[in-house]
């Protein structure tokens, strides 16, 4: 098992506030890693640094041993690192098919002028990528809504559409930002199955959740952060028993005493 993604002492500040501080952890190939922490702990900020939305102020991010600190999102995507968003970001004026087809942007080899002239090679590639899009839609049980406007669908289905779009890029690692947010119990249970199904296809997963249940059930390895710092790391059993984690989630006893 080799390291796919490494964070080494990563930190970032916003207006003097240290949002993430000296954070280090490793995601190995084939793993499902959970990143958890109370609301406002800095989880999404970590994701934004990994995917190039924010540039870390300190430390290094490595991808298969190569430094990718501060690389732009489009460059990160070419590495095979894809993400979903906490607030689903589908293309609002497009169908489900078009949204998922967007995931194949980097798979398209055609040049712009070949497209404008509709050359046979370009038409062939379009047909092939359309077929691959339908494959993914079938795998995620979305074929029946392929032509529907993406944002007119129920929340849980929209999450699946975004997931399908992420998988369409044939990523090595996908980062799921609170995939259970807004889902009902049945959808949440189905999500667990989907996550395992994705791992079966050889995709490594980094998962952010503040819902402990989902993370505990699916993760091989869990990293807990609070106030931008790592407070614990390990498997589900050790995390559940860790006093620092319990304190972060439930509050310290003398805090409550002070409040009372």
């Amino acid at each position: 098992m080799s390291a796919l993604l490494e964070l080494d002492g990563v930190g970032i500040s916003f207006g003097g506030l240290r949002a993430v501080d000296d954070l280090s952890f490793t995601v190995n190939e084939g793993q499902i890693v959970g990143l958890i922490g109370p609301n406002g702990a800095g989880k999404t900020t970590v994701f934004n640094m990994i995917t190039g939305v924010y540039k870390p102020g300190a430390g290094a991010i490595r991808w298969q041993g190569n430094d990718i600190t501060g690389a732009k999102p489009a460059r990160i995507a070419t590495l095979g690192l894809r993400r979903t968003f906490q607030t689903i970001r589908l293309f609002t004026e497009m169908s489900v098919f078009e949204n998922v087809r967007a995931g194949y942007h980097l798979a398209a080899r055609q040049r712009w002028w070949q497209g404008l002239l509709a050359l046979p090679a370009q038409r062939g590639e379009e047909a092939e990528l359309a077929a691959r899009t339908h494959d993914i839609l079938r795998r995620l049980d979305l074929e029946s809504v392929a032509d529907a406007p993406a944002t007119a669908l129920p929340y849980g289905v929209q999450r699946r559409v975004e997931l399908a779009r992420t998988l369409a890029g044939q990523p090595k690692l996908i980062i799921l930002d609170e995939p259970a947010a807004g889902l009902n119990d049945a959808e949440s249970a189905a999500l667990n199955d989907t996550i395992f199904m994705i791992r079966e296809t050889g995709v490594t997963i980094l998962l952010v959740e503040h819902d402990m249940n989902v993370v505990m059930q699916v993760s091989d390895h869990i990293v807990v952060i609070n106030f931008g710092r790592k407070i614990a790391e390990g498997n589900a059993v050790s995390i559940r028993a860790d006093p620092a984690v319990i304190e972060a989630y439930l509050g310290r006893e003398d805090d409550e005493a002070a409040a009372a």
Binding site: G52, A77, E93, M94, H105, L106, A108, G115, L116, A118
Partner: protein, 310 residues
């Protein structure tokens, strides 16, 4: 859905073919209006590449139209370059201007980009009026632009010029249609709808947007050449800010990213005013009211773009 798309294409091809017969049905002043329609339709479609497809607020598009017209006018009148040879140069220079001017602005948010492109338009008109190097003819512009010749045939008559314009409009329409179904065209729509999501899918925003500006400018440059030929004269007044506003309005009122919408918008803005010429200045009043009504009642435009399936 698939069948409808095919029908739309067939209908378009039929209308275009029927348009070829216009010179037999109309007197020459109306043929000239039809020629201007073709020229402005190309210009509006070129604005649609930047505004409607890529969602960049280009409020200075008359600049690229003007560059095309001036390139043809200058090369033809001073160096006697045949018109049709000036055409690729007009497109190339307009494209280069589009890419260069947009390069520093591409990261700007919509409203800032809009103001910056207005600035370009103001500078362009001023520059042409000041007759740099004595080549643009100042406020009077350049006169005596020749007629195009094709295979030794002088395209002198209004009908011949119309056919040239109409043929090139046909080619531009094909390119616009292909833009809908190619990766570059789709990347523009991804960026327009959600730039962050697009970039995490690997869309290189800077590259794609610059390319969109260059393509839009190139097509506007093509229209500029045709415009110079049709009028046989160019002057700064044809490329002022209000022309850019009209092009912007055509795309918004007609329907962003919609070929039929942009064509309808062009017809409403340029052809219908000719029909109501007897109303004199009142027609602008009517159009002002109509534009407001469309934006209130149908903000997506008269013929909005359809979602396409597989």
């Amino acid at each position: 859905m698939r069948r409808f798309k095919l029908d739309g294409l067939k209908l378009g091809a039929l209308l275009w073919a029927a348009g070829l017969a216009l010179p037999f049905a109309l007197d020459s002043s109306w043929v000239s209006i039809a020629a201007f329609f073709a020229i402005y339709a190309i210009t509006a479609l070129s604005e649609d590449v930047i505004l409607g497809r890529a969602g960049m607020f280009d409020m200075g598009h008359a600049v690229y139209f003007g560059i095309g017209a001036y390139v043809t006018a200058i090369l033809n009148t001073t160096l006697n370059v045949p018109i049709l040879l000036t055409l690729p140069l007009a497109m190339l220079l307009a494209a280069a201007a589009g890419a260069l001017l947009s390069a520093p602005l591409i990261r700007l948010r919509g409203d800032y980009l809009l103001v910056a492109t207005i600035g370009f338009n103001a500078i362009f008109v001023l520059a042409m009026q000041n007759n740099p190097g004595g080549i643009t003819g100042g406020s009077d512009g350049i006169t005596g632009i020749g007629v195009p010749s094709l295979f030794g045939l002088q395209l002198e008559s209004q009908s011949a010029m119309f056919w040239l314009d109409w043929a090139l409009l046909g080619l531009v329409l094909l390119v616009m249609r292909n833009l809908d179904t190619c990766e570059f065209g789709r990347a523009l729509r991804y960026l327009k709808q959600d730039e962050l999501a697009a970039s995490t899918l690997g869309v290189d925003a800077r590259k794609v947007k610059t390319l969109a500006f260059a393509l839009g400018a190139a097509l506007a440059g093509l229209a500029g050449t045709l415009f110079a030929v049709q009028l046989s004269t160019v002057s700064p007044s044809s490329f002022v800010f209000t022309e850019s506003v009209t092009l912007f309005a055509i795309v918004i009122v007609g329907g962003q990213g919609s070929i039929p919408g942009v064509l309808l918008g062009t017809a409403l803005m340029f052809v219908v005013p000719q029909i109501f010429r007897s109303l004199a200045e009142y027609r602008y009043f009517v159009f002002g009211i109509a534009m407001i009504a469309v934006m209130v009642l149908r903000p997506q435009g008269l013929l909005p773009r359809k979602r396409s399936a597989a």
